[in-house]
Each structure stands twice: as structure tokens, then as C-alpha cells.
């Protein structure tokens, strides 16, 4: 069935009346996602596109529309509030797409959600999709996906689409795809997503796409080495980025040995992951592994 999302996922869009929110709410709906509510304070009572009720608060969206997943598009200064509102209302799964959330806001949010029964994906992420359940909670182009048994996880947006595009072009479907986000502080780590794929009976292998910067890929490598019982193929991008330069993602800045592509590739290889040679080889590498698995 894939991870995080399933046929019972009922999505509310926080910021549905905004430019981004409305565009992507429509795209999610067009993909088949059950978008059951929108939330925009002060605009409660409206109907979005004549079909989705808009509420003033998340609590109302939960109580009246039975929403159980939040998809957040509010502007950066209000993102922490939107996340906290969903957590407070007991929403168990939240994807925050918003880019540019102040780091110290996320420091606080990270503490707030600790030990609470909630999973936050992002912020600054493309979201997640489960093609088999026709459920898309994010900004990825739905059409490139196809149902299948390969899990994809990445820090990035368009690079995830690139990976998915290569897979689909070769007829390899996806159980789920998750972009965990590129910010310094995010809700869910690589390790946690790998753990979900590991436990998902409908995922046979995982395509893992990391980047330079930080040491999350090393943590993932440790998990792959110790716990993962499914094959993983891994790509690290940014090998040719100049040191000390910031490459868009707050994460993609090389500081210290562990942040280099070489260090990450080494850790993943030693953990038993198959290394994808270049970003152009994602699909073919996965194909070879699937063939080897029989």
C-alpha cells in the first residue's frame, strides 16, 4: 500500500485560498486525492471550486470534514503557526511545503512535536505521493508517477521528479515517493522514511537521493547497514559543487569532511547500498537491481 498515505487519507489544505495553495489543491484533486477541506482564517464558510468547504481553523476542518492529513502552503512567517495548529488539533500527518521558514521557528516546532503522535514532512519540501492510492499530498507533477513497488526518498523537489521520471520511463512504478525537504531542521529524517519503507510489505526496494551538506546521509547509511532488509540504490548530488558555496538548499553547503559527496558515497557503499553513478543513471540502476532480484 506504500507509506504514509492510503485510500483513507483525507486531506485539508492550509492556505487553500492563496495562489500556491489553490493551484496545488486543484492539482491534488485532479490526481484523485481526497481533498476534503481547506483552511484559511477569516474565509470560513466559502466553498473552494464549488466543492471543498473552507474553514476558519484546522480544528473545524478535523471535526466537520474528518480531515486527517494537512498540506501547508501558508507564507513563511505563518508556517510554524500552521503546523502547531494542526498538531494541536490532533492531525497525525502534516506536509509543510512552505519554503523559507525561519530556522528558530523550526527549532521550537521540533521540540513541540517531539513525543507527540504526529509526523511532519518538511518544511521546504515537495511533499509525498502514493500512486497506488491515487493520493498526492504535495507539489510534484502527478502524471509522471505510476503505481508500483519501488520507494523513492529524497531531500529535493525536482530531482525527485527526475528520479521518478526515469523510473516511470522504464516502466518501474513507485509504492510511494517522499521529499523530506532541504532545510536545516525538518520534521522527518531519511532514517525515519527508510524505516517506513523497510516495514512496508508493498515496497521491494528503495531509491535514495541525497545531497552534499550535513550528515543525514551518513545516518541513513548506518540505518541501511544495520536495519534495512531491502535493497537500496543511492545517488548523492553536488559532488562537483565548489566547497563553501551555498547551493540553494540551506543544506547544500559543504562544511567539514562528512558533508562532502565523497564521504556520503563511501558511507552508503560500505553500508551495502548500490551507488548510482550519475544523476542520469537513476532509472537504469534501479532496473538492473530489480532484474537481479528476479
Amino acid at each position: 500500500m506504500g507509506i504514509l498515505l492510503n485510500q483513507d487519507s483525507r486531506i485539508m489544505v492550509q492556505g487553500i485560498t492563496g495562489k500556491e495553495g489553490s493551484f496545488h489543491a486543484r492539482a491534488c484533486m485532479a490526481y484523485g486525492t481526497k481533498v476534503v477541506a481547506g483552511v484559511t482564517p477569516g474565509k470560513g464558510g466559502q466553498l473552494f471550486d464549488d466543492e471543498v468547504p473552507v474553514y476558519d481553523s484546522v480544528a473545524e476542518a478535523v471535526a466537520r470534514a474528518g480531515a486527517n492529513v494537512s498540506l501547508i502552503f501558508v507564507p513563511p512567517p505563518f508556517a510554524a503557526d500552521a503546523i502547531a495548529e494542526s498538531v494541536d488539533a490532533g492531525v497525525p500527518l502534516i506536509a509543510c511545503i512552505t519554503e523559507g521558514v525561519p530556522v528558530q521557528d523550526m527549532v521550537k516546532v521540533a521540540r513541540y512535536i517531539e513525543n507527540k503522535p504526529v509526523r511532519l514532512i518538511g518544511p521546504n519540501c515537495p511533499g509525498m505521493i502514493n500512486p497506488g492510492a491515487q493520493c498526492k499530498v504535495g507539489i510534484m507533477p502527478g502524471a509522471i508517477h505510476m503505481p508500483g513497488r519501488v520507494g523513492v526518498v529524497s531531500r529535493s523537489g525536482t530531482l525527485t521528479y527526475e528520479a521518478v521520471g526515469q523510473l516511470t520511463a522504464l516502466g518501474i512504478g513507485q509504492s510511494s515517493c517522499v521529499g523530506i525537504g532541504g532545510d536545516p531542521i525538518i520534521g522527518t529524517s531519511f532514517v525515519e522514511i527508510l524505516g517506513l519503507y523497510n516495514d512496508d510489505p508493498d515496497t521491494d526496494m528503495v531509491v535514495f537521493i541525497g545531497e552534499i551538506g550535513g550528515n543525514m546521509e551518513q545516518e541513513a547509511a548506518a540505518f541501511i547497514g544495520e536495519k534495512m532488509n531491502k535493497p537500496v540504490c543511492a545517488l548523492i548530488v553536488g559532488a562537483t559543487a565548489p566547497p563553501g558555496k551555498r547551493m540553494g538548499h540551506a543544506g547544500a553547503i559543504i562544511t567539514g569532511e562528512s558533508a562532502t559527496a565523497a564521504s556520503k558515497v563511501k558511507a552508503l557503499r560500505e553500508a551495502g547500498a548500490t551507488i548510482i553513478p550519475t544523476p542520469a543513471d537513476i532509472g537504469v540502476t534501479a532496473q538492473q537491481m530489480l532484474q537481479a532480484m528476479g
Partner: protein
């Protein structure tokens, strides 16, 4: 956003951290007068947004006001090239003239965000005055990291521990602990991504003084610090990078000749990787972002085209949020505005792909289409 040393020190001082007596001079005469006022001796420090200035003549001790005049004349108005700048360096528009300090010990102290801890950590070392990344790789045992729980803040038991690790004598221990506490307050209240005092010195008479200071503000939080935003010095930034930043475009100037326009940071890095792998060298990293309009794409392409080292352009767009027709239209607008005929390789995927292709085909530009990353890299290699 980076601050100058003198700006950072002014903030430190406001939070009670001792700094040397100093004066910012933007002319040799000012430097001379300031040195005179300090008793005839001083240190002149180039105010630039780059580390490593000490090794390339950016910090000079002068023994007289006249020497200050000469040294300042030699420094001001020139560009300083350090191991952290590009080949053209950064302009020295002002000097910090400071009294000389009686240095007994040099310590390192900084706060930044630790991704693993998901919060601020204080980093200290007894090896102050040196490049901390070098200390970190050669003598990691000399660096201590102390996570700071946001709900508690930096607690006294932590500053005691840090002071002990640094081996600070009892006379200066209280001042050093106070510096740590203030530094955490500065970090939080100003939404810093880094505050660093290197070196934090202990003087012969036991005073604890911030001899140098570095302060980076987190860009995403600047909206709540209008006063700090005003401290921005655009002269210190790469002009194309600054222009891009104003347009909310992530841009990094590189050394090659392939101008790259990509949407998404991860895909942009992947594009650099495959371009390099194909034997071509990127002139830049450019992430135009997801919600771009044709005008924003046009401005991004114009930044690329205005870079004299660019000889060919690679557009790699995965049309999800950014539709292919919008991207195509933006590229055409920019080429027309700039009257450019540089070879163009376009690889597009996703929404409105055919429309995008036909806009480009009909534009009369010298365009080659590619379907995959591999094809795009090969095409750009040959497009010269």
C-alpha cells in the same frame, strides 16, 4: 546575510560583551586620526565579508599615526583576495582601527544550528585565533560542542563545563561564562545562523574581550529584523549573486562557460554533476524556483547572459509547478532583450511540454532539444 566585524562587535557590546576600543575609518586621514587618538599605536583591520584576511595583509599593526595613514592608503579602495573570495576579491571600503590588546590566551567560541540536534549548539576551543575548520579536522579533540536546549537556554552548569574545558583561570571564569550567556542571547534574539568570536582573548589582567567577531543572520528571518537588514553591505557581494538574490533566485557564480538555468536546487546540483561529467564546465548554479513566471525566468536568463564568461546555455526544467511553456517564453524574452545568439540546449519535461518546445522552435533561437539528462549533457558539450 553577513555583517562586518565592526557591526557584529557593536551588537556584542550592546549585550555587554567587552570589545576593544575602536573606530571605523573610511579614509586614510580618519585612520590616522583614530590611531592618534589611541595613543599612536593601533591595529588596522580591513572590513570585508571574507575570512582569511590576516594571511593576505588585511590586518596590520601600525606604530604611529603616519604609518596608519600609509597603511590605510594602501588598503582602502583596493580589493582583498583571500582563500575565501573569488579571484577578484572583495573591496576594502572601510577599516576598523582598534587599540592593541594584551593577549594572554586566545579562545574560540561560536554558536550555530546543529541539524542533528535540531537546535543551537555552542562550539568552543582553546585553540582560538586559528581557522576552526582546520582545528576541527586536525585536532578534533580540541573542540567541544555543547547542545543548548531551547526551553532552558544556555544553563549555568553548561557554562561552568565549557569554562572548565577551556581551562580558564577562576579570575576570568565568571566573565567568560557571561560572554557565553550573552552570545546565546544574541544568537536567539537576532535570528543568527552563526555568531563567532575568534579569538576571544584573555588579557594579562584577566579581562575577557572579543578581539574579532563574525555574525551571519539567517536570511529567512530578516523580515523580523528591519534594523539589521539595514546593515547589509552590497559592495561585499558578488554582483550577479546579489542581483539574483534580489529576484529571489538562488544563484552561485562558478568558473566555467556553461550558463545553467534549472528549477530546483537538487536538480540544479545534478545538472552541474552531469555537465561536469560530460567534460563541460558550468558557469553558475541557478535555481529559478518553483513558482516562477515568464518574467522571472527571463530575468534569470538575463543574469546568465550578462555574465561575460558564458558561451553556451543549458536549460533543464522539470515542469511541475513551473510549466514548460512559461519557462520557454521566459527564455525567449531574455534572448530577445539581450539580443543574444549564444547556443542554447533545452531539456524540458512535464506540464505543457509540447507548447514549450514549439515556442522555442518558432523563436528563431539557436536551440537544441534534449530528452534526458545524458542527452542534455552531450548536447551542451558539443554546443560550442
Amino acid at each position: 546575510m553577513k555583517l562586518h566585524e565592526y557591526q557584529a562587535k557593536a551588537i556584542l557590546s550592546r549585550y555587554g560583551i567587552k570589545i576593544p576600543l575602536g573606530h571605523v575609518a573610511s579614509s586614510p586621514q580618519e585612520a590616522q586620526a583614530a590611531t592618534q587618538a589611541m595613543g599612536g599605536k593601533a591595529v588596522l583591520k580591513a572590513q570585508v565579508h571574507a575570512g582569511g584576511r590576516g594571511k593576505v595583509g588585511g590586518v596590520k599593526v601600525v606604530q604611529s599615526p603616519d604609518e596608519a595613514l600609509q597603511v590605510a592608503q594602501a588598503m582602502l579602495g583596493k580589493n582583498l583576495v583571500t582563500n575565501q573570495t573569488g579571484a577578484s576579491g572583495v573591496p576594502v571600503n572601510s577599516l576598523l582601527v582598534e587599540e592593541l590588546a594584551d593577549i594572554k590566551r586566545e579562545l574560540y567560541i561560536a554558536i550555530t544550528i546543529d541539524r542533528g540536534f535540531r537546535g543551537p549548539v555552542m562550539i568552543i576551543s582553546a585553540a582560538g585565533g586559528m581557522d576552526i575548520e582546520e582545528v576541527s579536522s586536525t585536532r578534533p579533540e580540541d573542540i567541544h560542542t555543547e547542545p543548548i536546549e531551547p526551553i532552558l537556554g544556555l544553563m549555568p552548569f553548561q557554562t561552568r563545563r565549557l569554562v572548565q574545558k577551556l581551562g580558564i583561570e577562576p579570575a576570568a571564569a565568571r566573565s567568560a561564562a557571561q560572554v557565553m550567556t550573552s552570545l546565546y542571547q544574541i544568537f536567539v534574539e537576532n535570528d543568527c545562523s552563526l555568531v563567532e568570536i575568534n579569538p576571544l582573548i584573555i588579557t594579562g589582567d584577566g579581562q575577557v574581550i572579543a578581539l574579532d567577531a563574525k555574525m551571519d543572520l539567517e536570511d529567512d528571518s530578516l523580515f523580523r529584523h528591519a534594523d539589521l537588514h539595514e546593515l547589509r553591505d552590497r559592495s561585499q557581494e558578488d554582483q550577479l549573486e546579489a542581483e539574483a538574490a534580489d529576484l529571489d533566485i538562488a544563484y552561485v557564480n562558478l568558473e566555467g562557460d556553461v550558463g545553467c538555468l534549472v528549477n530546483g536546487a537538487g536538480l540544479a546540483m545534478a545538472t552541474l554533476d552531469v555537465t561536469n561529467a560530460a567534460g563541460a564546465a558550468p558557469a553558475n548554479f541557478l535555481d529559478v524556483g518553483g513558482g516562477a513566471t515568464d518574467e522571472k525566468v527571463a530575468q534569470a536568463v538575463e543574469i546568465i547572459l550578462s555574465d561575460p564568461k558564458v558561451k553556451r546555455v543549458l536549460v533543464n526544467v522539470f515542469g511541475g509547478i513551473l510549466r514548460c511553456d512559461v519557462a520557454a517564453r521566459g527564455v525567449v524574452i531574455a534572448y530577445q532583450r539581450r539580443n543574444s545568439n549564444l547556443p542554447l540546449v533545452v531539456r524540458m519535461l512535464g506540464t505543457n511540454l509540447e507548447e514549450g518546445k514549439s515556442i522555442l522552435s518558432e523563436s528563431g533561437l539557436n536551440v537544441t532539444f534534449a530528452d534526458t539528462l545524458t542527452e542534455a549533457a552531450q548536447a551542451i558539450k558539443q554546443a560550442i
